[in-house]
């Protein structure tokens, strides 16, 4: 098949899946919707795997779409390397997530709705990835935002889920407004929205008349506006506050949308426009990315909710990628995006399995000792966490190494006293904090309280290893009766859906998928297809390793201290407590926004609740701005009254017309039909059964006809 029809069928089956599953609402096949959905995913992966693009050239098809005067905006499908890897990545992760969800949402009433939304999401995400121009991308951008809204608010009876969904949607709207402005400015300076057209030759140097802005300045502004949209979608400072709340949705959906795929759409967009990112804009983006990653990592350290830790960790890693994009390290950034997608999805699914095991308890302090109870999840978690931290033999090691390498090169390019040096510095801090909170989480969730974890791991690993060897020997000896084989069979037999999906993602998080050499990113095939830096700093992995060991030691002890305090009920005091609270609520950004908007929006009449009105009387009235009251007065005094007048006029008019309809039109119709019925009745009655009369009647009518004939002749 040619790529065009592959893409068409591929998108089509997801859309069909959406409609089909949504229509299963009251059907007996509802329980099957998970498996239907998985079949769709497998089909999708098969389809897309036959889509082989030569890595040197791009493939694009365009259809005519909009014609506005001289402007032609085409519907364009663009497939290059960037598209290709995202295209497959999204579908593979979607497959694992769907597999996981079949069990996670087994007993949920809205299971078909859930899978339908997942399919719609995959459809729109693929559309976004394939988009060949900014307007088309914007369309699917909105669609993925909408899917995110639907899935966050999936349990719509929960108030928290509802408000989280609305929050995510509103903040994304804000970002979309920025993106729209950015698109307009780009259109102004390039006269076109295709990604291929963003080249210096197309730059229209005379088409704008801003006196104080140079063309470079305008371009920087445009990129920063687009970055505003990215900041909302990819949760960057200052619009990152929606992502932690988005964890109210079902955990597998969080894994797919809010960790692995949708949130990286922003990074993807930055990669698309990377040729036109000016150095100034790049610096701003890199700094914001670095700062976001540090702040989010600090917050992650102080969270108790297992999913919130991962959410902040996602923000922090997204900060990494965004910073990488700002530095111009497109390949490294995409590489990190890919590896992050796998291990973060794995972590989320593990968290889902843990939450399921704990009967929907999400507080990490109440967990513990899970190492023995769900060992498979633990090993998967261990691999994914190692990947997140960046330990050797994992994919995270390679990608983080390449990203840090690029950051150091970027920071030291213009000497050591430049502001750019802050970026690698902040990323170093983030690496340290990442190790810190991951170790903390592992300890809290899995390890036995007050016991040496190292012994535990060693003994457990040894046991498993011994068992494996023994069973292997048994298989070699063909001893069917022996215990060892039973163990392997039992192990395989006991593997549930959860275990299979987390193990799959954990295996994808190891090095061999990406490189033949686990210690160096030089040989990663992934980076070959993207432009890369020449310089290579061999000390970076060592530094990261050192930071990890320090973090391991500190975190291990600090976590036990924390748990001890929790059991004893001790509270921190003084400045420690303040710092703790500040970090836990993510530096009060959320409440700062709330207060600011509250001041602008609230008016004294719109609150019905007695309790709130008292509070507001004392505090907010004095502070609220006059402006809102003024607008409200205009609204209620003039606009509303006008509308009321118009509506009463319309109502009275419609009364007249209904009277006319009733009396005249209907009356006429009724009269006619009654008349016809009466006439028919008379005709019927005339045939009363007396045959002489019949014959007489017939004769009379014949004579009558003859008479008429004579008269009209």
């Amino acid at each position: 098949m040619n790529p065009e029809s592959i893409i068409f069928y591929n998108l089509f089956i997801y859309l069909v899946g959406f409609v089909l599953l949504l229509s299963l609402n009251n059907s007996v096949f509802k329980q099957l919707s998970g498996w239907i959905s998985i079949v769709i995913s497998v089909l999708g992966i098969i389809f897309s795997s036959s889509l082989q693009v030569p890595s040197t050239e791009n493939f694009s098809i365009s259809y005519n779409w909009l014609h506005l005067g001289d402007t032609h905006i085409n519907f364009k499908i663009l497939i290059d390397n960037q598209t290709y890897f995202m295209y497959i990545l999204v579908q593979i992760i979607a497959f694992f997530v769907k597999l996981f969800s079949t069990k996670y949402l087994e007993h949920d009433d809205g299971i078909n709705r859930y899978f339908a939304f997942l399919n719609l999401f995959v459809f729109s995400m693929l559309g976004l990835v394939l988009a060949g121009n900014l307007l088309q991308l914007y369309l699917f951008w909105e669609l993925v935002g909408f899917c995110s809204y639907l899935l966050i608010g999936f349990w719509y009876t929960k108030k928290a889920a509802n408000s989280a969904a609305i929050k995510a949607f509103l903040i994304n709207r804000l970002g979309d407004a920025f993106l729209m402005v950015g698109i307009f400015i780009l259109f102004l300076i390039y006269g076109n929205l295709d990604f291929d057209a963003f080249t210096p030759e197309n730059l229209n140097k005379s088409a704008f008349g801003f006196p104080f802005l140079t063309i470079e300045g305008l371009q920087t502004l445009a990129v920063l506006m687009v970055f505003g949209g990215v900041a909302a979608k990819s949760a960057q400072l200052p619009l990152q506050i929606w992502l932690p709340d988005a964890m109210e949705g079902p955990t597998p959906a969080s894994a797919l949308i809010h960790a692995a795929t949708m949130v990286v759409a922003g990074v993807f967009l930055l990669g698309r426009i990377s040729p036109i990112i000016t150095p100034d804009a790049g610096l701003v983006i890199a700094l914001i990315g670095g700062l976001t990653s540090v702040l989010a990592a600090i917050s992650a350290v102080f969270q108790y909710d297992i999913k919130k830790v991962l959410a902040y960790s996602t923000i922090s890693q997204l900060g990494f990628m965004v910073a990488g994009m700002g530095m111009g390290a497109v390949g490294a950034s995409f590489f990190h995006l890919t590896t992050h997608a796998f291990f973060k999805a794995g972590l989320f699914l593990c968290a889902g399995a843990i939450i399921n095991y704990m009967h929907h308890e999400q507080d990490m302090r109440k967990m513990g000792n899970l190492l023995l109870k769900i060992p498979v999840v633990f090993y998967a978690y261990l691999i994914c966490a190692a990947s997140l931290i960046g330990l050797p033999f994992t994919s995270g090691f390679l990608s983080k190494d390449s990203l840090l390498n690029a950051a150091v090169a970027f920071g030291t390019k213009d000497g050591y006293t430049n502001i750019k040096i802050l970026v690698p510095f902040m990323m170093g801090i983030t690496s340290f904090l990442t190790s810190f909170y991951m170790v903390r989480q592992l300890v809290m969730v899995f390890f036995q309280r007050q016991e040496s974890p190292v012994d535990k791991i060693i003994s457990s690993t040894k046991r498993t290893f011994d068992g494996a060897i023994k069973s292997f020997q048994d298989i070699l000896n063909a001893d069917n009766e022996s215990l060892g084989e039973e163990k392997v069979i039992n192990f395989v037999r006991n593997l549930g859906v959860f275990d299979v999906s987390v193990l799959g993602l954990a295996i994808c998080s190891t090095w061999f998928l990406f490189s033949s050499n686990p210690f160096s990113f030089e040989e990663v095939w992934f980076l070959e297809v993207f432009p890369k830096d020449e310089t290579h700093f061999p000390w970076i992995p060592l530094a990261v390793g050192f930071l990890f060991i320090v973090a391991l030691l500190i975190s291990y002890n600090a976590t036990y201290e924390e748990l001890r305090r929790y059991y004893l009920g001790e509270r921190k005091s003084g400045w420690q407590r303040n710092i703790f609270r500040m970090a836990k609520s993510h530096f009060y950004i959320d409440s700062f926004y709330k207060k600011t908007f509250f001041l602008l929006i609230k008016s004294n009449q719109s609150i019905d609740s007695q309790k709130y009105s008292n509070e507001i009387k004392t505090s907010t009235i004095t502070k609220s701005l006059e402006i809102s009251n003024f607008f409200q007065k205009i609204e209620s005094n003039y606009v509303d009254k006008l509308i009321k007048k118009i509506s009463t006029l319309v109502i009275s008019l419609s009364e007249y017309s209904s009277k006319i309809d009733d009396k005249i039109v209907d009356g006429l119709v009724l009269k006619i039909s009654f008349g016809l019925k009466n006439l028919g009745n008379n005709i019927r009655k005339s045939q009363s059964g007396q045959i002489q009369l019949y014959v007489l009647g017939m004769a009379i009518i014949i004579l009558f006809i003859v008479l008429v004939k004579i008269i009209i002749f």
Binding site: N681, G689, V695, M698, I701, I705, V706, I712
Partner: protein, 481 residues
Amino acid sequence: MTELLEILTSSQNILPEWILIIGILFLVVIISFQKDGSKWPYRFSFLLVLSYTFSASYYYENLPNEGIKLFGDLLILDKTSLFFKQLVALSTIVFLIHSRLFKYKFDGEIYFLVLCILLGLSFLAMTTNFLVIYVSIELVSISSYVLVATKNDKKNFEAAIKYLIFGATSSAIMLYGISLFYGIGHTLNFADSVFFKSIATNSALIIQIITFLFLAGLFFKIAAAPFQSWVPDVYEATSTPIISFLSFAPKAVGVLVVARVVQANFVNLNMVLLLIIFISLIVGNLAALWQTNLKRMLGYSGIAQAGFILIGVLKGPQTDFYGAFFYILTYLPITMGAFFLADLLKKQAGSDEMEDFKGIGQKNIFLGLNAVIIMMALVGLPPTVGFMAKLMVFSSIINMGEDMHSSAYYGLLIFGLLNAAISIYYYLKVPYFMLIKKSYNQPRYNPDFFLTVVLTYFSIALVVFFLYPDFGTEWVRKVLF
């Protein structure tokens, strides 16, 4: 000697009728020597009708277009007469299948009478001779009277007597007309040039009135007003398969004879026909509005349908009776399907009253859908072939109105459309009762799936002929005068 030769060659050309005559005689023998309840009369008549149909279809390979004259102009055999013979034979087959499927225990005499009607209609279809017309109509009529009376029920006797008296009166009027024609025309063949020349000396008014008197017998057969009074009683009392046959076969051939009279063109009959059409439409439709019994309703609706068919035989400058013949072709599955439906409903509800059909369609949605399609075909709504038929008839009026510059035709058009609109009410009442109304008691009998499937053949035919009308239109186009 030449006369003898003429008789011999002519006799060779009416093979189907010979088969029928000899077969009927043999059937009488079979009936006489078989016990009551024997299935042999049925089987033999089926075989007979089949062989009649095949011989009528395949015996005349090299028939010239203008037809051949037999027995010294007594009979004229052309493609049109063959077409009508085939249609009537087809309706006889449907009758036989219908009575078999519903397990009617008919005596052998019933089959004998039906075959006699077939014989009479067969001769009626290929003649322009007054005497042959009269004799054939009497053969058909007398057989029909006896058919109606055979059920041994008081109601049947009453209906048969009414039928007989009306039939006799109409025959008398017709015979009166024929005698007048013979007096002024010196010949009994109205297609003859001698006849044409002879009557040209008389006033057109007199000819029109005499023609009207002559056509009375035919209007009686096609159940057009004012010769319709027998219809409701006979329709209600007679067994459904028999009335299904009687509602189609005599009507079709009667229209053919009217068309032959119009075609002979010795007088302008349009005014008479228009009056008949107006009266038939209004009487049939308005009386049908009040009926609560399905078979009576179908009887009255048959009067209105006769009016619609007669629209097609109005004479214009370029009339070819295309509309009328196509209407008759489609009328076969429509009306016989409707009676099949009526019988099926009676089997399920236990009576012919529409009140009792409540909820049957909900129990058996398949049957309900069939009812919708058949009744829509009777109204003439798309997507059924009834729509095509009405469309062709009405479009023929429009052409006529343009050609003859007479507002009467446009008036007829509007009047016909109004009547079609009125007919929606009483036709769709049947599916309305079946599908929308809730039944207050359970249907007494289980739905018969097999019969419903057979009924579906009718409704499928109605829809398919709407989608692919070429089969019908080509066939009709070939057999026009």
